[in-house]
Symmetry: C3
Subunit: 181 residues, 3 copies
């Protein structure tokens, strides 16, 4: 919480630069669901560092390197998920910016349209069988500034299911509150 003091040592330009960094990072995170739901390998190739890591835990496939991560979006499995109407939905991320590095902590829902079940009518909003929330995951994005913009060095996600790994990620957003002021 020593933000105020820190500001005294920075020029206005440096402060504006840090703000622009924050906004660029918001857009980087906001670009992920559209890329996942359209299979945009070109996004993953630019957004991840050459040696970037995508880690979904023990039960789902991951990849290392921006090209391998991008290739996953073109896999038969992922393309089938897209054809089924998968939607990635991100909440407001927490951003901890530290110069040329940043840690982003975010929640993400993965939704799919229900294929069976009763349709419900909502006035002025049509009829729908609704959506299934398939996964709710905690994400940790480790970012680095490069000459061509902010890049993902490592994205780690874990299912929020009452087990410890997702809580470990979430605590990462609260580091500033754990430190002495």
């Amino acid at each position: 919480m020593s933000r105020e003091v820190m500001q005294d040592n920075r020029t206005l330009e440096q402060r504006v630069r840090a703000i622009e960094d924050r906004l660029e990072i918001y857009n980087l995170i906001a670009g992920h669901p559209p890329s996942a739901d359209t299979g945009a390998d070109y996004y993953a190739e630019i957004a991840y560092a050459d040696d970037g890591v995508f880690d979904r835990g023990a039960n789902l496939s991951g990849a290392t390197g921006n090209k391998a991560i991008a290739a996953q979006l073109k896999s038969d499995g992922h393309q089938a998920a897209i054809a089924g109407g998968i939607a990635h939905f991100t909440g407001l991320p927490h951003i901890a910016l530290d110069g040329d590095r940043a840690i982003v902590t975010s929640y993400l829902q993965i939704l799919t349209p229900n294929k069976s079940g009763e349709a419900i009518e909502v006035p002025n909003h049509g009829s729908s069988r609704g959506y299934h929330i398939h996964r709710v995951v905690a994400n940790r994005w480790e970012l680095a500034r490069t000459p061509s913009g902010w890049k993902i060095k490592r994205r780690t996600l874990r299912l929020v299911d009452g087990s410890e790994p997702s809580r470990e990620i979430l605590r990462g957003a609260l580091a500033a509150y754990q430190q002495p002021a």
Copy 2:
């Protein structure tokens, strides 16, 4: 990704202005769910341009002109949806700002409380039958700066259901990644 170069040509004031634009746009998007869920025609009348267009696709009603769009919020159908507890829930939007224009791409969930089914108890959080996710839609907001603030020129939304139109909207958020660096 030519952001860094672009900055060199801008004054600090211009950079701050662009940041303020971004934040004003976040608030414009964040104001939509409260307006939809309270039937706030006064929001729609100010937020949309005089010739603004609201396009929900072939199966749901749209409108042209800020007054007509506002009037929809007072329709019997929409008022019934509000009485039933409709909730619009927006994720983190992607903002592509280009001077006096901006393209915003966002996901939106439309939820309603379940009227039947088993109630579930969650410790310290009461009992609930839960909510139905009625629609998950991709939104494209085409905005323009006016002397009285940023206005919606066109809002286009399409259901995320595995069909092409929502993906076309989502790809709009990734345009910067498609361009040569």
Copy 3:
């Protein structure tokens, strides 16, 4: 909507300060779900003012004072909710900043993993029984700047269920649209 005029009276430093305030507030709101889902009393103790109020309405417990609010996160009930996999999921908040005060309006979903029911397989995304959306609530956060950062003076939340109290909170986000231009 007199933002443009207002800016004329502010120095660039004042404008940058207001932007930093906005971004600090986004992080304060984004820090809440991780704190709720990990039981981080240390977050609540710093984020709430000494005399802060947490008001969940008539049917759920609230608390007054940052230490009492923090203690709730360590209660048996809340710890059981965490063990069950509770996830707080926040959308994009609306921020109305006014000098050393701010009103934030946000939607929040409270989710828990389904303990029964059919598991669904989504290609490339594993198998899951899905999540139950237990509550969708409208939140009003009344914030104040202090020498040690922005603090929550009062957080009021009400269930979105078609009744008036949540709509009253949501209308708070639209105050700028109700005022004469």
